[in-house]
Symmetry: C2
Subunit: 353 residues, 2 copies
């Protein structure tokens, strides 16, 4: 793999960890991100330009083996433009399906996979009608560009609906039924260039203020039926999309059943535990997949807990003194609500597991 | 650890793996190596200049938190010059002790630790006298700059002695007694800035043509007495040197006893298995030690076998398809006898271990 350079759209922490996994495989990296000096820029050249800058995109694509991406809001015209020059994986169709909360829900419903009920909201009348039909509570969300809980409001009353409409009404919206879940889970799956698939165990996620705080892997009290159901969902989605790479699906557990919340066509925060906690990390497996190499085992190595470092750095010495703790800093300026690192604590699996 | 840059003397694969371990800790790296574009250069700026170039060394040292090294033949004046500007760790005294096979043996003998018998050879008469006293077989070695079996001859006859003298006689030499060992082992130990020490389990090494081929970790049939003896040797050496960082000691097992062969004041090829096979890698622990951070656990995670990729690349696909295999390529041009990568295969530890 001498002189093989992979282009990554986005130069954030996911790009950084992809590169850290790829360097030992002999791969080189180039990043494209409008924001200069991203966390990944230490590990390869970064082109800082707008996603609409075709000159910059052409320079970026020059000599690349392929292009992948570390976030799902890559503009579709950018992906399409690059795809004229160089393979783009995962396939841009996955971006299209995942970028819009309405098409995303419809994608899963078409596969016979349960999601929350959803209604398309274009007018205030649509909203009133949907609230009436679906009942409250419900969640009003922008169809595009939402992340970490941004661009959404939980509606408990008609007054909430009016306020949310005042804030979001200029954008394309959906109303989603509010799911009373037992817990939030996610599954990471990977599909290779020749169609082989592999899934990591379901993990349990704790969110607060819309931001992932902690992932426990494998999810506690995980029964085989649940894992099987999640893998069925993941494999259906991978096949339908002709997917190549790592796909993350967020799920709600409701009465022993799994309901899809959303998907991300990329490596995912709830998979960071795999760096130390699985036989092969999500980052390495994403690279193996898009490079057409054999996938690595997704077997967990004991039990892991991944905790995001959000807003400000904790006491690094205390953290490194914690048995089994593995620290990952992203070299981002601390700022309220910002993910600036994570720590994974690994424990050997108990003998009877 | 924002904006903390560590300088590394040498930009080879050890520097590369140090940087790969340090980036997640938020550390930045700068390399110094006479040979441009070393395997580490992808992970930080490299200054390519001679070790005697004080201007280049001054530029290198500018703004560094500290300097460490990835090979033991850093010229002592280089280390001394840098130490005027910035802390150099491990302490240069360790370089002095390890660079010369005679002082190295004397260092261990002074600690009451057994080594092969050794004689200083300055003249042909010295050689004849030592051969007579020590008996044959014995090994004639240069005192300095030997690695991977270079600069040494095994002498079985007086004729061998004459030929070896013709080849090496212009250099400072030693004659070493030939040790009939059961096996070759090594131990990696780490000492923190405040004196705490930790040891990895003994590993078993297989050499061929003077080059390490394979390491099995932990060493098979490892009994606690052997581990205890090795740790005693390692801790004695660490204390005597006021050492900070990772130290490797190569040993011969002879009738259930350990004899020191040599030491390397740096991370070591026989410790590469620790990347996946131990709770904390030798690379991370070296960085933790020199940065004055708490050391990480040296506990093995199952059994590992590390195999060097020497001379030419094997079939990468076949290799990645091997269960538990972790590939590390160094981006070095393939060349006979050259280490261009390694692969570690991890197996979960059997239930009864």
């Amino acid at each position: 793999m001498a002189d093989t350079t992979i282009g990554i759209l986005g130069a954030g922490q996911l790009g950084r960890m992809l590169a850290l996994a790829g360097v030992p495989l002999g791969l080189q990296f180039r990043f494209f991100d409008p924001m200069p000096n991203g966390p990944a820029a230490r590990l390869g050249m970064q082109i800082a330009a707008n996603y609409t800058d075709q000159d910059a995109l052409t320079r970026f694509a020059d000599g690349l083996e392929l292009v992948t991406y570390e976030f799902e809001n890559v503009p579709l015209p950018t992906a399409a433009f690059l795809a004229q020059h160089v393979p783009v994986l995962p396939p841009p169709a996955a971006l299209a399906a995942a970028q819009d909360r309405l098409t995303e829900k419809q994608f899963f419903q078409d596969l016979g996979i349960p999601t929350a009920p959803v209604a398309k909201i274009e007018t205030y009348a649509d909203l009133l009608h949907a609230v009436h039909t679906m009942g409250l509570p419900a969640v009003l969300k922008t169809r595009r560009m939402g992340y970490d809980g941004k661009g959404q409001y939980v509606l408990h009353t008609l007054e909430d609906a009016n306020q949310a409409w005042a804030s979001l009404g200029s954008q394309a919206l959906i109303l989603e039924g509010f799911i009373q879940f037992q817990r939030e889970l996610s599954i990471l799956a990977v599909r290779g260039l020749t169609g082989e698939t592999s899934c990591y165990p379901l993990v349990e996620n704790t969110h607060s203020e819309g931001i992932l705080r902690q992932t426990r892997a494998p999810a506690p009290a995980l029964n085989p039926q649940l894992q099987e159901q999640a893998e069925h969902y993941a494999r259906s989605a991978l096949e339908r999309l002709g997917y190549v790479g790592v796909l993350a699906i967020e799920l709600f557990q409701v009465n022993g059943q799994l309901i899809v919340n959303e998907m991300a066509p990329r490596v995912h925060n709830s998979g960071h535990w795999t760096i130390e906690g699985a036989e092969t990390s999500q980052f390495e497996n994403h690279l193996r997949a898009i490079m057409g190499l054999p996938l690595g085992a997704t077997t967990p190595r004991g039990n892991s807990t991944m905790t995001n470092l959000i807003g400000e750095l904790p006491d690094i010495r205390a953290l490194l003194a914690t048995p089994g703790a593995h620290l990952h800093l992203y070299e981002k300026e601390p700022r309220t609500g910002r993910k600036i690192g994570h720590v994974t604590v690994c424990e050997p699996r108990a003998k009877n597991q």
